[in-house]
Each structure stands twice: as structure tokens, then as C-alpha cells.
């Protein structure tokens, strides 16, 4: 496992235990090292959705689609956000 993979796993553990602040910090740290990391961007989108920061969620899913326009999961989540 490289550093990014370790950070990602840690961030997900925080996310799953509903410690959203710590999870966000670690996902953002990944983006400092690798600004286009799709896993971190996607999970930040889901995290923002969970805490009802709809604009924030939209921003991250749009970034995923900029990098990977075929990303089905991000597209579906973004479409769903428009219905809220």
C-alpha cells in the first residue's frame, strides 16, 4: 500500500464511523498530493451529500466528471441531487 492508499482507507474508516470532519480532512490531504484523485473526489461528494451540503456535493461530482466523463456513479449521484 502506498501513502495515498493508506490515507484513503483511513478516511473511509472515519467516514463509515460518521466522523465526517476527520474523514474530510484526510480526503482533502489526498487531493493536496494528487489533485485529480477520483476516489477522494467521489467520496468527498458522497460525504457532502450526507451532511446536506448539496452545493459542495455537486462541486465534487462535477470534478469527477470533468476528469472522467464516463463515470456512471458520479453522473447518477449528480442527477439525483437535482431532484432534492
Amino acid at each position: 500500500m502506498n501513502d495515498i492508499e493508506i490515507l484513503l482507507e483511513k478516511a473511509k474508516v472515519y467516514f463509515l464511523s460518521q466522523n465526517y470532519n476527520e474523514a474530510e480532512k484526510l480526503f482533502l490531504k489526498i487531493l493536496e498530493i494528487e489533485p485529480n484523485n477520483l476516489d477522494a473526489l467521489y467520496h468527498l461528494g458522497v460525504l457532502k451529500e450526507v451532511i446536506h451540503d448539496i452545493e459542495g456535493a455537486r462541486k465534487y461530482f462535477e470534478r469527477v466528471l470533468e476528469i472522467d466523463p464516463e463515470n456512471k456513479e458520479a453522473r447518477e449521484r449528480l442527477d439525483k441531487l437535482a431532484e432534492i
Binding site: L16, D39, Y42, V46, I51
Partner: protein, 228 residues
């Protein structure tokens, strides 16, 4: 339950399909053949029929249905006439869609059990939601009371319902909590599952991101909306 939906425009057809999907018996009626054909496979039975034709309506056995829904409102004359005829044919309960206050008044006078204004109600909800981004849904119960769905204020987060003093200090009732719970979708991705806690326990802790469904006097709800 058994429902009869008369008028298969966007509104009527949405009602008919949703009821059918929920497993109810639905008879869908319109005088336009195209609209009826579109619903044929989606409801129990779809018929081309003019709902202002007394004889035709009487042949349907409307007294066997739990609800008859008069979904057309643009053609006021047809809406009023059909409401009257279905009542006369013995329908137990009639719900009719109105397009104006006068229309609503007439529908009530001739026996509609429920009259609704979908455009107006949706308009109110959208206005509430746009003017206050923390409001997600809104139902007016009376001029004094309403039910709204708001993002839990920061000052409520981390506290139990009891500790928020929602009822004693703010005069509101938290009747449900809507929560998105993170969980693994597959080996590598976290997703959010929708949870709803109806009539939550007073010891339930309010978490960041929770949506609270609150009931109370409008003035009290306004105060809670202002909380940080």
C-alpha cells in the same frame, strides 16, 4: 384498495401509475385513446370513456371503489359534471383537482370529499425551499400549524432530542429524522443509505446532516429556522 382515476393527463396518469405500482387495483379512464393506450400495461384496467356520459359512468360500478379521483381540471365543466355524476353513481369517496378557488368551492358544494390544488401546493413548497435553503419540504396543516423538513441546526447536533429542548423551549415536535448513513457499497466505495426514524426516541442523538421533520406553530418553526 380499489381506485378509479378519471382524466389521464400528467397528473392523473402519475396518480394511476403510482397507485398501481403500490399494488392497488386501478381503473384508469380518459376519452383520449392515446392516453389510455399509454397506461394499458401499467394499471389493472384502462378504458376509453367519456366521464360526462351518465350512462357510461353508471356501467362502471363506481360504488365498489374506495376512491374515485377526478384528475382533469382544465376543462372545468367536465370536471364538475363528472364529480356530480360519480357521486350520484354511488362513489364512496371522491377526490377532485381544482384549478381555481371558485372551481374548488363548486366541487365541495357538489360533494367532493377532498379538493386539491397541486400547482398551488407545489408552488408553496418550491417558494419555501428556495427562500430558505435549509427547508426541504413544507406542508401547511392550518393557517397556524405546519410541518417542515429542515437541516438540523448546528446547536442541535450531538445532542439527544430531549437535550435540544425542542418541545419545552421551542414549542416544536420532532416527528421524524431523515438521515443518510454511510456504508460500504462494495469493496472499495462508501455510499449513503437513506434512513428514516419515525417518532424517534427522546434519547436519539441528532447527527450532522440529519433532516428533522418538525411540527409546530409557524411562529415557533420560524424561530427554529433562525437557529445556527
Amino acid at each position: 384498495m380499489e381506485f378509479c382515476v378519471i382524466g389521464l393527463g400528467r397528473f392523473g396518469s402519475a396518480i394511476a401509475q403510482t397507485l398501481a405500482r403500490k399494488g392497488h387495483e386501478v381503473l384508469a379512464i380518459d376519452r383520449d385513446e392515446g392516453r389510455v393506450q399509454e397506461l394499458e400495461d401499467k394499471v389493472s384496467q384502462a378504458l376509453v370513456l367519456d366521464a360526462t356520459n351518465e350512462k357510461a359512468l353508471k356501467s362502471l360500478g363506481l360504488k365498489d371503489f374506495d376512491w374515485v379521483i377526478i384528475a382533469m381540471s382544465q376543462d372545468i365543466e367536465a370536471s364538475i359534471l363528472s364529480t356530480m355524476l360519480v357521486k350520484e353513481a354511488g362513489a364512496k369517496k371522491v377526490l377532485a383537482k381544482a384549478s381555481s378557488d371558485v372551481h374548488a368551492k363548486i366541487l365541495k358544494r357538489i360533494g367532493a370529499d377532498r379538493v386539491i390544488f397541486p400547482e398551488r401546493e407545489m408552488g408553496q413548497k418550491v417558494a419555501e425551499s428556495l427562500s430558505s435553503p435549509r427547508i426541504f419540504d413544507y406542508i401547511e396543516l392550518s393557517p397556524e400549524y405546519s410541518i417542515v423538513e429542515i437541516v438540523a441546526p448546528k446547536s442541535f447536533q450531538g445532542k439527544t432530542i430531549k437535550q435540544t429542548e425542542a418541545r419545552t423551549k421551542y414549542g416544536i415536535h420532532i416527528i421524524a429524522i431523515k438521515r443518510k448513513k454511510p456504508e460500504m457499497e462494495n469493496e472499495s466505495k462508501v455510499t449513503a443509505r437513506d434512513l428514516i426514524l419515525v417518532a424517534p426516541d427522546p434519547n436519539e442523538e441528532i447527527l450532522q446532516g440529519d433532516l428533522l421533520v418538525i411540527l409546530g406553530k409557524i411562529e415557533n418553526i420560524e424561530k427554529v429556522k433562525e437557529l445556527k
